[in-house]
């Protein structure tokens, strides 16, 4: 049996980014409310909000790979780790955060290109396998190269940056800094997807073969989408290192990648805001549902299967699905 080259989960025809004033106003209210939320929280709550932002950067990048290029990456946590270690090692050596950030981003972009190139020449979702193996390999390197990465002991005492002379050492300023950076990154991705050049990504999502026949080089665009996705994870990694102050290989294992992938899909891959829902599910919900412990993830696995059977477009496709059912019910 042949598989069609790159099947996308849902391909309803809609603009790449929702653009209506009410939605924009709504988004602004949500963002402001979220920005003020930690004022009423203890330091762990603030930490979780910052962590949420960090993962949001990574999953927004991942959404470009899954949702728009129709490829599955099971190595997003590895790129997060590469970014985090580059930032941590550089900052421990006394280099400033703002020098390590672009370095982490560029390194992940370049590694993404190098890893994606062989895998994307052939189809059958080989990228999923390549990234899965890559994640295992990166984990081994982080654990075994003690001289550079500190092995299982990790790297401790990673400083936080200061911006225009203002120290971001305290939790609240660092959260606002991370939130602002996340919004900037999201805006950049939104701008990218709306630019004439970036519209090819939406064409790729909606119908790869049609896009190719219209002159879009699908291999190049798929590769680029994957590399940009990896780059976002690298950026997220740098913020992660500064946020937690101590990194070891554990958060960058394959399971973390798998959860990010499933989170984005559950939220709604290829939807601009799908990663927000997905990140709530994988970062915030487990904290509220602590009493369930390991069963939470088992239940999440079942939910993923159920969702694929009944709602393959993800949670954000629910309103459309209900609407179309209502229209379908009319005589």
């Amino acid at each position: 049996m042949n598989a069609s080259s790159s099947t996308v989960i849902a391909r309803p025809r809609r603009p790449a980014v929702p653009r209506s004033r009410t939605r924009l106003a709504l988004a602004a209210i949500v963002v402001i409310a979220f920005a003020l939320l930690p004022l009423g929280l203890k330091s762990y709550g603030t930490y979780l909000c910052s962590l949420f932002c960090v993962y949001l950067m990574a999953t927004f990048g991942l959404n470009l790979t899954i949702g728009y290029a129709g490829q599955m990456s099971l190595g997003q946590a590895a790129f997060l780790g590469i970014g985090a270690y580059i930032a941590a090692i550089g900052m421990k050596a006394g280099l400033p955060f703002f020098a390590m950030l672009p370095l982490a981003a560029l390194a992940c972009f370049a590694i993404g290109l190098a890893l994606g190139f062989p895998a994307l020449r052939v189809q059958h979702h080989y990228l999923a396998f390549a990234t899965l193996g890559f994640n295992v390999l990166v984990f081994l390197v982080l654990r075994n190269e003690e001289a550079i990465t500190g092995g299982t002991f990790g790297i401790r005492g990673i400083p936080r940056p200061s911006l225009f002379g203002l120290s971001l050492e305290r939790d609240l300023p660092y959260f606002w800094f991370t939130l602002a950076s996340t919004l900037l990154l999201i805006a950049l991705l939104g701008w990218l997807l709306r630019s004439p050049w970036g519209r090819a990504f939406a064409a790729l999502r909606d119908n790869p073969i049609r896009a190719e026949s219209l002159g879009v080089n699908i291999t190049a665009y798929t590769l680029l989408a994957f590399a940009i996705g990896a780059c976002c994870a690298g950026i997220a990694g740098a913020y992660f290192a500064s946020l937690v102050g101590f990194i070891d290989p554990a958060p960058f294992n394959f399971t973390a990648s798998l959860l990010m992938l499933l989170g984005v899909i559950v939220g709604g891959a290829g939807r601009f805001l799908g990663p927000v829902v997905g990140t709530v599910i994988i970062v915030l919900l487990p904290e509220w549902l602590r009493f369930m412990q390991n069963w939470y993830l088992a239940a999440f696995g079942v939910a993923v299967i159920a969702l694929m059977v009944w709602l393959p477009g993800g949670l954000l496709s629910l309103p459309e699905r209900l609407a179309s059912r209502r229209i379908g019910a009319l005589p």
């Binding site: 049996m1 042949n2 598989a3 069609s4 080259s5 099947t7 996308v8 989960i9 129709g70 599955m72 890893l115 062989p118 895998a119 020449r121 052939v122 189809q123 059958h124 979702h125 080989y126 999923a128 396998f129 390549a130 899965l132 193996g133 890559f134 295992v136 390999l137 081994l140 654990r143 075994n144 073969i209 394959f254 798998l258 959860l259 992938l261 499933l262 899909i265 412990q293 390991n294 069963w295 993830l297 088992a298 999440f300 696995g301 079942v302 939910a303 993923v304 299967i305 969702l307 694929m308 059977v309 393959p312």
Partner: protein, 291 residues
Amino acid sequence: MGDFVQLVVSGIAAGTIYGVAALGFTLLWQASGTINFAQGEFVMLPAFAMLLFLGIGAPLWLAFFAACIVSMLLLGVAFKRIIVDPLLRHGVIPLVIATLGLSVFVKQGIKAGVGALAYPFPSAFPAGQFAIAGIEVSYADLGTLLLAGGIVIALQLFLDRTMTGRAMQACAQNTEAARVLGIDVRRMTLYVFLINGALAAVAALLIAPSYLVKFDMGETIGLKAFFAAIIGGFNQTRGALLGGVLIGVLENLVGFYVSPAYKEGVALVVFLLVILLRPEGLLGKAEERKV
């Protein structure tokens, strides 16, 4: 030189286990277009089933057969009915994601329900080793080689020589034509799922003594099964064994001569080289793309 030969022999033995898991993976892909990302968990589950049967006092052979049946029912019939059949019409990706969800469910369910400990598992073969021409071979390696190799060859003969086997291949090559020729495609697909369940139990029996039985043991074996299948050629059953053996041998050599820490990375490197130089796999044939 003696070291080298011994490493190759035990590498081949380990590789045939990867080959068995990869074979089931390849068969599923051919017969139903299912890329099963839970293949590793499909090996882990029968291992726990065998532990359970051993725990209530069954001898190893009985525990194995019981686990085989459980595996065929659960990972064969139930997997097909509950997950694959409803999802096939949505295309490849939702199914792949459902198998990823399944792998999370099985792994975390075992971790939450049974625990995160690694349990020892008895070997099906006697301990000790013997020497042929100055090369020490352990009974476990020889037994693994004979059992796994025998199963792969028997399966190959079944697929090539029997009416049912040929009908299964026909379904894999061209479902529509097979249906027109009067082959019961649904039944043939079911057979493939049953075979995959049984192969998973065999792989579990062979790998559990060295890997120990643990909720995340499937991660490594699953990854190697994917890579073995692709290296050998995704659409060739023989390829799975070749890919598995290649990984097993190279892993052993790298582990000994380069660094034991990077043994697990070998499969990825071979995989990347193969898809760069020969994307259809060592024994595979290139497939056409359907619009």
